[in-house]
Amino acid sequence: MKNTKKIISFIVVMTMILALCSVSAFAAEGETFKIGGIGPLTGGAAIYGNAAMNGAQIAVDEINALGGVQFEFNAQDDTGVAETSVNAYNSLKDWGVQAIIGTVTTAPCISVSAEAYSDRIFMLTPSASSTDVIADKDNMYQVCFTDPNQGIASADYMAENYPDAQIAIIYKNDDAYSQGIRDTFASEAESKGLTVVYEGTFTEDTQTDFSVQVAAAQAAGADMVFLPIYYTPASVILTQANAIGYEPTFFGVDGMDGILSVEGFDASLAEGVMLLTPFSADAEDERTQNFVAAYNDLYGETPNQFAADGYDAMYILYAALQEAGCTPDMSAQDICEALVGVMPTISVDGLTGQGMTWSATGEVSKAPMAVVIKDGVYVLPEAAE
């Protein structure tokens, strides 16, 4: 009781000081939510970070245009590095952030979410898919499906459509994302009776030359190469396989998304590549069409899955804030507790899934879908035949 009084009086005093300092700034603060974004806007994973933040910005513009609750969005660059990401998080905190969309990549997200957990700031990542991101943190939620989910879904899809495939896996074993998907894929593949004929690994330092792994996969007789990796090394694998005339079916996960926008990459090499993604830019529904058109107008390219994840993340936050009855004058900590309460109860229709729901651990429930690259765009596998 005594403490509550102290806190209230402290808040009152702070409010008065703020009011004295700048009346107009205080008014603005009371009307808009300050939403932070963290992701790699430069560096090797920049395609993901920019896409997610651009998508989120489009959602913010739409939400602000509705009138009612206003959002102010501040996207910080973390170059995909954990240390830089914590710095970005700290500068968002200085800015007075109330909830965070981010971070976009896995390793930084594990570091930042630990900070946000102890500071009690709500985080919703568009695309960091490891279970380590949400483990033991009640205020950390995901828009994308988790790595185990992707590994299992990939194996299930292959078991259903290519039961006789001779599978090779090339993965990055110093990366939590890649290793995580490979582990669950391997165990699911085993239980489904799929044949894995070769497994090759690489690390951050060796991700420019895959001639040995590609040759070994070919020698092992693999006709399906599973690549639970990001698109930059994947583009090298495709190029080097082509150079020695090796033409298996390549199967990727969400990290493969973006391969068509690598500058200088011969997109014809990606013909026939399959990947799991929850979003396809040529989906027919009106909402996707509008989003694709808006994204094209603003950024001059077709949005990938990460853009859709960012867009959805902002709308999920919007829905959760409304459900929880949060107002912009609440502290980040109060907003965090309120959102943690409502997240497991809401259901959101987004670009990356209808009726997305969340478990209290922060994991999303939605269905992944397989697409195949044909003539430089994603189409459903049925349409490609």
Partner: protein
């Protein structure tokens, strides 16, 4: 059968290392300094060629020439601005300067071309008959190996037969005496940098043609590996760089194939340590006693 495939990819990788190592070893042999910015000149060569090919639409041969010219100029400018003033300074000062130049080039490249990796378009446009491709030989690998052999022979002939080559050898043996004999030491060193940087451009183009990710740090790891190759073969020796590069590429490739892809780099460096323990001057290095 698949062993040959690994061997070929090793030889192809080794040829790239060898071309880069030639640049290191020449500069070391004559200027007695480790030019750690060499790897980044390679990266610049890659970018220049990429732009010439994709933005200016030049044919492959011209693009390589443009890259060579730009890198040659860059090499001479670096030498003149950063290394020449330190000619009389201790070798540590020059080494640190070289590392500084390396960082400068990387960050300048990031500013100019951005950090997003680009996919390099191969400069090799023909494809081999299916029979050769089935043993894992790509046209890029073939060109790389051929280029390496041609460069190696040309360079050896140049150093042994031409007047400038003789001047280089003289500088390498004794700068003071060479100067007394009327050799312009500074010009010879600049010339060495020019040749080394032109080689770096070729190496950059070949490296990126086979391993097509082009980003500001593209040159650092191959640069370090090639430096290792130069030490491995005996730094200062041109055939040593060639043999060192080839061996290193083959060891790396076979280690990846038969031992562990993760440990491949560690194995490469472990072999270097063992060689240096047994033969401190490298495979073909000359033992040069210091006269006190």
């Amino acid at each position: 059968m698949v062993f040959f495939t690994y061997l070929i990819s090793g030889i192809s990788l080794g040829s790239v290392y060898a071309i880069i190592a030639l640049g290191y070893t020449m500069v070391y042999g004559i200027a007695k300094m480790l030019n750690f910015a060499h790897g980044d000149v390679i990266m610049v060569g890659g970018y220049i060629c990429y732009i010439a090919l994709n933005s200016l639409g030049l044919p492959a041969i011209l693009a390589v020439l443009v890259a060579m010219i730009v890198c040659t100029v860059l090499g001479v400018v670096i030498e003149g601005l950063a290394y020449k003033p330190l000619r009389q300074a201790g070798s540590l000062a020059v080494l640190i300067t070289a590392i500084g130049v390396s960082y400068f080039l990387q960050n300048a490249a990031q500013l100019i071309w951005g950090a997003t990796p680009k996919n390099f378009t191969s400069v090799v446009h023909f494809s081999l008959p299916a029979g050769l491709m089935s043993i894992g030989l790509s046209s890029e690998a073939l060109i790389t190996v051929l280029a390496c052999i041609v460069i190696m022979i040309a360079l050896t002939t140049f150093v042994n037969r031409s007047k400038l080559g003789k001047a280089m050898r003289a500088c390498s043996e004794d700068k003071g005496a060479a100067q007394l004999m009327g050799i312009n030491v500074n010009r010879t060193i600049s010339m060495t940098f020019a040749i080394g940087s032109a080689l770096a451009a070729i190496a950059g183009v070949l490296l990126c043609s086979s391993y097509p990710v082009l980003q500001p740090t593209t040159g650092s790891m191959p640069g370090i590996k090639a430096f290792t190759a130069a030490v491995f073969g005996g730094i200062g020796s041109i055939p040593g760089a060639f043999i060192g590069g080839l061996l290193l590429g083959i060891i790396e490739s076979l280690a990846k194939a038969y031992i562990s892809t993760t440990l491949a780099n560690s194995i490469v460096f472990a072999v270097l340590i063992i060689i240096l323990l047994v033969k401190p001057t490298g495979l073909l290095g000359k033992y040069a006693p210091e006269k006190v």
